[in-house]
Symmetry: C2
């Protein structure tokens, strides 16, 4: 079991990483508490696969808990589900010091985290991410949120967990598509300069990385993300680099009404588009674009843009990262070297429209 | 215009207090901003009385704003209204640096503040309280929340405003009942030891304090509250003293389904009950109880318990302040000297039941 400590002003919390560590890591959450009560939040898929294991672990420690099991999928990241959780916590008689445990992927973690941050103005919160995407990304850093019909993640807070347990053994049941979504975020970490990831991404075609290799990947990504979060918890500067591929990616998700692509798939497409935008602006070398698409290809992840980038740009303006009529794109000056670039949407639109036309003339 | 500065770790914000200061104090909110955009939240009563004045002030500073006007009353402090505000902010295209302005009483401030804290994980927030209760209490300190059917203020956050404007001129239109609700909180500040308030509370029967006297009252209450908030922002210790009268008061509101009594009236009843509880426990002298009821009587505020205290105690257990099966009551060892006292609900119940029986036997 590897322990990483995230140090923030006034608080610090551990991320426990390893294969099969759930039972060993859980007791920490209840250390020194007289009454052991908790609220568990999960989704139907995760609960049918792993619910019995978490139940047994909690019972083994004498924890009195109630579980709210939501339908799997992005639709549960809503204010409706937020209300459902809060009322369940109240009816259960959850108190200020009793933790909420999120047991699932990013949707469950984001929703349960926001509910934990708001219930009685904040109760302790533990993340047990069950997808690679959540283990490397959403469970670390304290960004929790739900969606509005008007846009993704528009309502939420910065709320750090008390504990994160990343048990890579839980990933064995993950469908290949979900694993790939996580690997797309891992490619992002490599692209923005996280050390040591490239050799771990080299696998034979079709091969799935095992739990030990995944534990090492999760560790390196969390170390990288922890650094960004410690430097910029509130996401006003440096932390924006983690957004590489996300501005285009969110627009892709929105364009297809969050149905066709999952978050990781959209980020893969978004990274290729951001690299292409950098290329068109003369700021990103062609070999950097190639390196990204090669890494995604090797992991079996498609980065083919499913629509013209010009259709995505208007959808990017409602994004939280867009200020005063300008977009902030994260671009690469080389593989591993990200920077923020402000651009007016009309300029970006013209750039892609022009490139599209040249493509068509060539054909 | 009096300016108080609330100093918290990493942040500091001003409270501007005075008669007719709205127009003078408002520009500070938009200092140094290139685009001037804001979302205004108010209720139908306040907006019909003072909306034109705020509109003119905002227009005068070239601010592009949209107003959401909610029905007046506690029913608007709901997750439904929270969602309505968030969607309005999104449709208006509010950005991360554009402020939300709460223009109303405690309901509007608590709701709009929680929405501001959650929209895009936090946008700036200004309070323009229009009731005495909100000026002396809810607009200062950063506690924002909405109610659940299961209990009051169960969902919210700690979110400090960027600016508070307490224009006591706005209080001239306040119905006497609303003014009295505020005066009940002022009596609370005196009872927990805020200096200088007693002479300001001495008025001839039926007389309403004018805007200048009110400005001085608001100033002293805010100084007192600021001290508590600076020492204990997250309400885990000393700040609990501000809760004098509130544990019983919340139960009174709940008992009558938030319909019969407003918050201040319930707090008045709650203070008398807390003083009586202290008396029954042998911890509060009888003259302290008398001093509180005399002050409330002089302000024309009833403190007569509308039901047996034994009926209220079960309703106190869902309160955020109750931990692990115990209630934390704020009691007075003398007028001006509050302390926290933990008690098991069964013990409190027995105490009041016993006293009730003795009363009946006497009759």
């Amino acid at each position: 079991m590897i322990t990483l400590n995230i140090r923030l002003p006034g608080r610090s919390y551990p991320i426990q990483i390893g294969d099969g560590i759930l039972e060993r890591a859980l007791p920490e959450l209840f250390c020194g508490r007289p009454a052991k009560k908790a609220a568990v939040v999960s989704d139907e898929t995760v609960w049918s696969l792993h619910g019995a294991r978490l139940e047994a672990a909690l019972r083994g420690h004498g924890v009195d808990f109630a579980a709210t099991i939501l339908p799997a999928g992005e639709a549960s990241k809503s204010l409706n589900a937020f209300e459902r959780l809060l009322r369940a916590f109240a009816r259960q008689g959850l108190h200020r010091n009793d933790p909420v445990i999120a047991f699932g992927g990013g949707v469950v973690g984001d929703l349960a985290g926001f509910a934990a941050s708001a219930f009685m103005r904040g109760v302790p919160f533990a993340q047990i991410p069950t997808t690679l995407l959540a283990q490397v990304d959403s469970s670390v850093g304290g960004k929790v949120a739900v969606n509005l019909p008007e846009g993704k993640n528009l309502v939420g807070s910065f709320y750090q967990p008390a504990l994160v347990i990343a048990d890579t053994g839980l990933l064995a049941s993950l469908p290949r598509r979900e694993l790939n979504a996580g690997l797309a975020e891992v490619v992002k970490y490599a692209a923005i300069g996280c050390d040591g990831l490239l050799p771990l991404l080299e696998t034979k075609a079709g091969e799935t990385p095992g739990p030990d290799r995944l534990a090492r990947i999760v560790e390196l990504c969390c170390v990288c993300k922890a650094g960004y979060v410690e430097r910029d918890e509130r996401d006003t500067g440096d932390r924006m680099m983690l957004n590489f591929g996300h501005t285009f990616g969110h627009a892709v998700e929105k364009y297809f009404q969050f149905e066709r692509y999952n978050h990781g798939e959209a980020v893969a497409i978004g990274m290729a588009l951001a690299a292409r935008a950098g290329l068109l602006l003369g700021l990103t070398p062609r070999e950097t674009l190639t390196q990204i698409t090669d890494l995604l290809d090797a992991a079996g992840i498609s980065d083919a843009a499913p629509c013209s980038p010009t259709e995505l740009i208007p959808l990017m303006l409602g994004d939280k990262k867009s200020g005063e009529g300008e977009l902030t794109l994260i671009l690469l000056r080389a593989f591993g070297a990200p920077f923020a670039h402000k651009i007016r949407p009309e300029r970006l639109l013209a750039l892609f429209a022009d490139a599209d036309m040249r493509e068509r003339v060539k054909v």
